[in-house]
Structure formats: C-alpha cells, structure tokens
C-alpha cells in the first residue's frame, strides 16, 4: 500500500512535469503541439551530448538542454505555427510531421541505438521495504517546484498576466494593447524549455532513443484531454489521476495493461465529456 502511494506520487510528479508545457501551449495558443514530445527528446539528447559526450558539468549541461528546448519552441512558432494562422488541424498535422523529422534528425546525429543517461542525482532512498532512486525523487520535487514557480509566474508577473489574458480571449487581449504575437512566442519558448527539462528527467528514468517522444506526447495529450484544456492546477490533478491509475493497474492487475486504461480513459472522456473533467479554466 505504502509502495503504491510512493510510486504513484513519483510517477505522477513526472507526468505533471511532462504535461505542463503542453498544457501551456494549448491554453494560450489554442493549438496542440504534436511535436511537443520532440522537446523532451531534444532535451534528453542535448543533456546526454553535453554531459556524457563532452564531459561538461551537470548544471551547465542542464541549462544547455533547457536553452535548446526554448530555442526549438521559438523556431517552431516563428517558422511554422505563425504561418498557419491558428488553423488547428493544420498545426497538428504539420507538428506531427515535424516530430518525425526531428526523430530522423536525431537518428542522423546520434544513430538508432538506445542510450543510457546516468542519473542526474545518484543514490537511493529506502522507506520501509520500498527503494526509490534519488533521481526520480528529485524529478518529483523539481516538478512541484517548477509547477509552483510557473503558477507564480503566471499570476504575478506582467508577462504571465498577459499570457493569461491571451488564453482567456486572444482577440480581447489584442484590442487592449497586448502584443499577442510576443506573448505567444514567449509561451512557445517557455513550453520548449519545460519540455526539455522534463525530457532530461524522463530520459534518466527510462532511456534515450529516437522514438522516445511518442510516449510522453501521449501522456501529455491524455492529461490535457482528461483535465480539460489547460489550467496548471488541473494538470497537476489529472497527472495524479493518470499516474495513480497506472501504478494501481501495474500493481494489482497486470503491468501490460497500464497503458490500456489510460487510452480507455482518453476515449471515454473525449466521447462523454469532450470539455474534460474540469471544463475550461484559465491557466
């Protein structure tokens, strides 16, 4: 029981971290970025390259990965999304294509084989009979800190409030003098950075390979769909629903079925309550 609780919180923390950047774009820009999983991959590989290939210290490696993600976000927005002028389906199709392109790019640079990322923080923790790695513990704590920080950023800073305004009513925000283009670009940058950070943790939890972007994308999609478009707190709650559901399935039913229930949940929610469990909130 305790084990389920611990495992559940750890996994959910990671999921929340994975999903939040995706949520942000959906909330502010009203589009689904299906290349979001590619940020995670970029982040993971950038960290791998700088720390394990070049031998940089971990912190600069981490910052390098974050920067790469932010840059990827800005480029995606500038070169692709902006040109498609908010045509949702076109954005989805083109970001899906882009994800495959990035995957192929990663194969070209790093080849096909899987790579192991050393834990960002080594060592293990023991609680009763349960052993947990410090690495995933740090991921969970980082997730909470990042989510908290993001919430403060959105509520308290000028840019954050502008993001909120655009998220609620883009046209209204534009009329009241907000530069929605800049706000969108900022959001894409932040989303890319968040994705990369999540990617470093995710990769250290599983491993690096060129198709690693699909699983986290599906988690992010699930969280956004089940939660109902994009509030940060909603993301946290739904990440826990899904995380715990998977752990409970794994522990008590069968490990192979963990994804099945997540898919059923997505389909069920989309069909029965397309607006999501919590409806439409603001950031």
């Amino acid at each position: 029981m305790l084990q389920v609780l611990i495992q559940g919180f750890l996994l959910s923390g990671l999921y929340a971290l994975i999903a939040v950047g995706f949520t942000l774009i959906f909330s502010v820009g009203r589009v689904l970025n299906l290349a979001y999983g590619a940020y995670l991959m970029l982040g993971g590989y950038a960290y791998f390259y700088s720390v394990q290939t070049l031998g940089m210290p971990k912190l600069p490696g981490f910052l390098f990965a974050t920067g790469m993600g932010a840059l990827a976000g800005v480029l995606m927005y500038r070169l692709l999304v902006k040109r498609l002028k908010g045509d949702q389906v076109a954005v989805e199709i083109s970001t899906l294509i882009l994800a495959v392109v990035i995957q192929a790019g990663v194969v070209l640079v790093f080849n096909d084989s899987s790579k192991i990322l050393h834990p960002i923080v080594g060592g293990v923790w023991r609680i009763g009979s349960t052993t947990i790695t410090n690495n995933i513990l740090v991921a969970m704590v980082a997730s909470w800190i990042i989510l908290g920080g993001l919430l403060l950023f959105v509520k308290k800073t000028h840019v954050g409030r502008a993001m909120q305004a655009v998220s609620m009513d883009a046209k209204g925000a534009r009329i009241s003098g907000i530069n929605t283009d800049r706000v969108n670009m900022m959001t894409w940058a932040i989303s890319g950075a968040l994705g990369s950070v999540a990617g470093v943790f995710f990769a250290s939890y599983t491993q690096l390979n060129p198709s690693m972007w699909v699983a986290p994308l599906i988690i992010a999609v699930a969280v956004v769909i089940v939660g109902g478009i994009g509030s940060i707190v909603g993301t946290l709650i739904v990440a826990h629903i899904i995380g715990f559901m998977e752990i409970i399935t794994t522990t008590f039913i069968a490990a192979e079925l963990r994804g099945v229930f997540t898919m059923l949940l997505i389909i069920g929610v989309l069909v029965i309550r397309p607006q999501g469990l919590f409806g439409r909130g603001d950031l």
Binding site: V89, S94, V260, P274
Partner: protein, 317 residues
C-alpha cells in the same frame, strides 16, 4: 468526364506493360506504392473529404490485416473466405471509429483516433497472444501469389479498382455532400441532409478500403507485427502521401504514394537508415506549408497559367 477517364485508361495500360520494362526490384517498390496508395485513399475518403482527421488509421488497417492473418494462419481458413471476413470485421471496427464523430470533431476527434491506435497496439500484445502472436506477431502467413510480377498485377489491380471506384463516387452528388461537410457541417444539415448518415457512409467506405488493403497486404508480406503496424510513423507516411498529392481528390493520394515511395527509394543509397525520413519529412512540411492542397493544386495552377485566363475561372487561384 471522358478526358479523365482516358487518363485512367492510359494509366492502367502503362502500368500493365510495366513488368516488361523494369526490374523485379522496382516492381517490389511499386507493389509497396500500390498498397500505400490504397491506405492513403482510405484515409482521404474520411479525412480529406469530410475533414474528420484520423491519426489512427492503422487501427482499421490492422483489424483487416490481423483478422485475415489469424483466420488463415490459426484456423486454416482459405484466403477467399478470410479476406471478406476481415473486410467485414474492419467495417465493424469502422463503426467503432465512427462513434466519437457523432459528438466531437477537429482536434478532439483526431486524438481519439490516435488513442484507438495506441489501444489496439497494446491490446494486440496482451489479449490472446496465442492468436495474435503477441509482441512478435505472426509470420509464415499464406501468400496469395508468389513472384514480383504476379504480385504487382494483383496489387495494381486492387489499387486501380479501388481508385476508380472512389473517384467515380466522389464525382457524384454524394461526393459533393461529403466535401461540403469538411467546409461547414452545420450548413450541410441546414440544407436538409442527414450528416450522420453521410459521415457513417464515408467511414464505412473508408473502412472497407482499409480492410481490403490491410488483408491483401498481410497476404503479400506473409507476416505481421504490431510495432511496425500501429506506429505513428506509418500514420505519418499515409498522411504525408495524401497531403503531398492533394487531399480530397483520390488521384492525389495515388500520386503522393508513388512520389513518396520513390523518393524514399532514391534516398536509400544516400541515407540508408531511417534518416531518410528527414528529407522526406522536410519536403512534406515545406510543401504542406507552401501549398496545403498538394501537387494536384500545383499542377492545376500551372495548367491554368499556361493555358491562360480564358479557360480559368479566375486569374487568382
């Protein structure tokens, strides 16, 4: 009507003569292109025409392929029976696929279909692996014909028949009505048409084609495995073929499938691994952002420009 039909006839004759002139290797590439064209047309009939984007088309193809594979491999059923049953099963699956379209559209629908595909991927591995072969799939499935040329004729005949039928169907008023759904569904029901029935029809046709394609494909390959089938890269290949060629045109997806297959082949010496998708995807992306209606539209624009404005409906196409 006569001119395009002549085009179809020339296409058929040229393709039927092809085995006289090209190597078996090339034929095998074209066989793949034929199947890809079938899948692309199936996608186009739902997503291109009605605008309900499917990100999970392998769900349908997979039902067709797995059903026929299991029936013939595990139960020794003849192909002449297993394929029709597989098509039927795919149409039942198509009904399942259709249910969400009653309530949701756009992004949400696309994501449900993606979830369908993932669900199928996972279920195939855990539910009755004694039938599906689990993660490793099934190999040694009965093939219908052997040799490149016979398989080329078979796959081309199938593709051609499906293509011509769908093309004729899209030229009827029904095709117009399906096009109208992608532009403004409310206005279609506002014209007194039952959009649910229209959509269901499109889904059934699409499922039928996907089932046929999937079943024949599995009996060409002789093997099936979940990872290659229920794969987002496969979805990507299908969608890109349609978009490159021009969606909602039926002919476009055929051109796109051939173009893309040969592009991939010609890249092979330069980029032997899956890096090929880098070039492939880039071309698709640039083309899509530059001309979302694909090659068909580019050709149309060119012919308007060369023929001059007297035949064009307006200068600004």
């Amino acid at each position: 009507m006569a001119r395009p039909l002549l085009g179809w006839a020339i296409f058929a004759v040229a393709m039927l003569l092809l085995p006289q002139f090209v190597s078996n290797g090339t034929l095998r590439i074209i066989i793949f292109a034929n199947f890809l064209a079938i899948f692309a047309m199936s996608w186009d009939f739902i997503s291109g025409k009605t605008g309900y984007i499917s990100f999970g088309h392998p769900f349908l193809i997979g039902i067709g392929a797995y059903t026929s594979a299991i029936l013939s491999y595990r139960f020794g059923m003849p192909v002449s029976l297993s394929i029709p049953l597989a098509v039927l099963a795919t149409m039942v699956g198509g009904t399942l696929f259709f249910l969400p379209a009653l309530r949701i559209k756009g992004t949400y629908f696309a994501l449900v279909t993606l979830a369908f595909m993932e669900l199928m991927y996972q279920l195939v591995q855990v539910i009755r692996p004694d039938l599906t072969g689990g993660t490793r799939g099934i190999s040694g499935i009965k093939t219908i014909l052997s040799g490149a040329a016979p398989n080329f004729y078979l796959s081309f005949g199938l593709m051609f028949a499906i293509g011509l039928a769908l093309w004729l169907l899209s030229r009827t008023r029904l095709g117009t009505a399906l096009d109208a759904i992608s532009m403004n569904e409310e206005a279609v029901s506002g014209s007194g048409l039952n959009t649910t029935r229209l959509k269901l029809f499109a889904f059934m046709v699409s499922a039928l084609v996907a089932g046929l394609g999937g079943a024949f494909y599995v009996h060409y390959l002789g093997s099936i495995a979940p990872r290659a089938l229920f794969d987002i890269n496969f979805v990507f290949t299908i969608i890109v073929s349609v978009l490159i060629g021009g969606s909602a045109t039926i002919i476009g997806p055929i051109m796109g499938a051939f173009f893309m297959t040969f592009l991939l082949e010609y890249l092979r010496p330069l980029l032997p691994g899956s890096e090929r998708y880098l070039v492939y995807g880039m071309i698709a992306l640039v083309l899509y952002v530059y001309q979302p209606k694909g090659i068909m539209q580019i050709l149309k624009n060119l012919s308007l420009r060369t023929r001059g404005p007297q035949t064009g409906r307006s200068g600004n196409v």
